[in-house]
């Protein structure tokens, strides 16, 4: 920190930044903040779990898509590649609306679905949000994992084979860990991107932090302050994700030559 602040211009810039933050706090209207605090916290919670859950579920699919493309037979590799191309070639917003409005208008046509125990869940918006975000992670990370699987030195797999490891054990103990290790910095960056795409789910009436901020603007007609709050919340979450992955990477042993 001492080194960071040693140059004079940094200290001046920091003073200017503090002045801007200070004037934002004092001059802008923050009276709505205590009243809406419970909704804001629940919004942050929804954004956080959406990011984590869809990232975890999506990574599981991505490993399968990656291995199918890297080592699978043609009839598995080709559909996996087509899936990744389609997901990466169309906007997430369009995919989300296709699932929500498309499936949402499609399911009620079947009385079997309407009478099933799943109907109370399928009537809500969040299953479609989770599905769309998970599919998106799977598509993007499937491509990343394909590269990571192919990047593992072939000698490692041959050594495992020579030791007489069954194929699945070799995958679990040798291939997967090394591929994930290689992909980890990319996955960290992609997690931030995933967190940044969660506000789209507000368009299908889910009150994540973005939806809450828009609702506050509608209620109070205050425009800038909720947007500033949003920016601060998202930057904080991005910072937490970056720090988490830095910590995770530091825990993994790397051999540097």
């Amino acid at each position: 920190m001492g080194d960071f602040l040693r140059p004079l211009h940094r200290r001046i810039m920091l003073a200017i930044a503090l002045a801007i933050v200070g004037s934002c706090v004092w001059l802008l209207n923050w009276e709505w903040l205590p009243k809406y605090m419970p909704v804001i916290l629940s919004g942050i919670w929804i954004t956080a779990w959406m990011t984590v859950v869809t990232m975890v579920l999506g990574m599981v699919c991505a490993v399968l898509l990656g291995i199918a493309q890297a080592a699978g037979p043609v009839w598995l590799a080709w559909p996996a590649k087509a899936y990744c191309t389609v997901i990466r070639g169309t906007p997430l917003l369009l995919q989300l609306w296709l699932l929500y409005f498309g499936l949402g208008s499609f399911f009620p046509l079947f009385p079997e679905i309407r009478q099933s125990f799943l109907w109370p869940i399928l009537r809500q918006a969040w299953p479609y949000a989770v599905l769309a975000l998970t599919m998106s992670v799977a598509g993007y990370e499937g491509e990343v994992m394909r590269g990571a699987f192919k990047g593992v030195p072939h000698g490692q797999l041959e050594a495992a084979k020579a030791m007489g490891m069954p194929r699945f054990t070799a995958f679990r103990r040798i291939w997967l860990p090394q591929a994930v290790h290689r992909a980890l910095p990319t996955i960290g960056g992609e997690t931030v991107l995933q967190m940044k795409s969660t506000p789209l789910i507000a368009t299908i009436s889910i009150f994540d932090i973005y939806g809450v901020a828009r609702r506050i603007t509608q209620d109070t007609l205050i425009v800038y302050e909720p947007l500033l709050m949003l920016a601060v919340v998202y930057m904080t979450m991005a910072g937490i994700i970056v720090l988490f992955f830095r910590w995770l990477e530091s825990r993994l042993p790397t051999r540097t030559a």
């Binding site: 940094r10 296709l98 947007l227 949003l230 991005a238």
Partner: protein, 250 residues
């Protein structure tokens, strides 16, 4: 797809996607045109910001470097949707306030212009990082040699740095183009009529959701696959004259 269409409603996909008014073909293609227009404009603006930003980050003074660092970090940490809202209000509000101070009546900016400005600023941050990395990949000796020959900084950038960094920059720039074509969809949330908004309008009016979202998706897919082909050509062109060191297995 046809089975889904019949489940959707009575009308057939061909009637709904026809060019003239009972069909929505013209609306979708107009939306696609807007998407391409906004994406190209924003991409060009982003590249211009990116070139300046990259040179500023590498060769600028300490204050320039720090300010550019703040810009790229802020833009890349906040969701595009939030930036679009903030910049949307900021551009319109500030422009009209400035006009009011000068005694002019407020103007209503066109959606395309605002979209280009907003996404251009967002793209600029990502372009800066891509181009900075590419400039760093130019062998230092080349730049030193040019300086030793007495080239001015602008001539050096034009003749040496920019052509040599092209090959390293193209893959990143191709990704940015694909990102910006998809980011234009976010403008649908603030009401600009681009492809996603046109699609959702058609879907909501006719209640035939699957057909239209599929059709919109196919148009996006054509755009992105076409762009990938074009960028592949550009990369081959930018790499001509480079030695092929290894034909990787990947």
């Amino acid at each position: 797809m046809l089975t889904l269409v019949t489940l959707d409603g009575a009308a057939s996909a061909f009637d709904l996607l026809a060019w003239s008014p009972p069909g929505w073909g013209a609306t979708l293609v107009a939306g696609l045109w807007n998407t391409i227009l906004i994406a190209s404009g924003a991409y060009a603006l982003g590249l211009a910001i990116g070139v300046l930003g990259a040179f500023g980050k590498l060769y600028g003074g300490p204050v320039t470097k720090d300010l550019l660092g703040v810009y790229t970090t802020l833009v890349r940490a906040v969701p595009e949707l939030v930036l679009i809202l903030i910049l949307n209000y900021a551009f319109r509000g500030l422009l009209n306030q400035a006009l009011a101070k000068l005694g002019y009546p407020p103007v209503e900016l066109s959606g395309v212009a605002i979209g280009i400005a907003i996404l251009g600023v967002v793209q600029g941050a990502y372009s800066t990082e891509v181009l900075r990395g590419a400039i760093l990949s130019v062998p230092a000796g080349q730049i030193e040699a040019a300086r030793a020959m007495g080239m001015s900084p602008v001539l050096l950038a034009r003749r040496i740095t920019l052509p040599l960094m092209m090959a390293a920059a193209i893959p990143g720039l191709a990704n940015l183009w694909l990102t910006v074509t998809k980011d234009t969809a976010l403008l649908a949330v603030v009401g600009f009529i681009e492809l996603t908004k046109a699609t959702s309008l058609a879907a909501a009016t006719t209640k035939v959701f699957f057909t239209f979202y599929m059709a919109g998706g196919v148009l996006y897919l054509i755009l992105s696959l076409g762009s990938t082909l074009v960028f592949g050509r550009i990369e081959r062109w930018a790499r001509k004259g480079q030695r092929v060191i290894s034909r990787g297995e990947n």
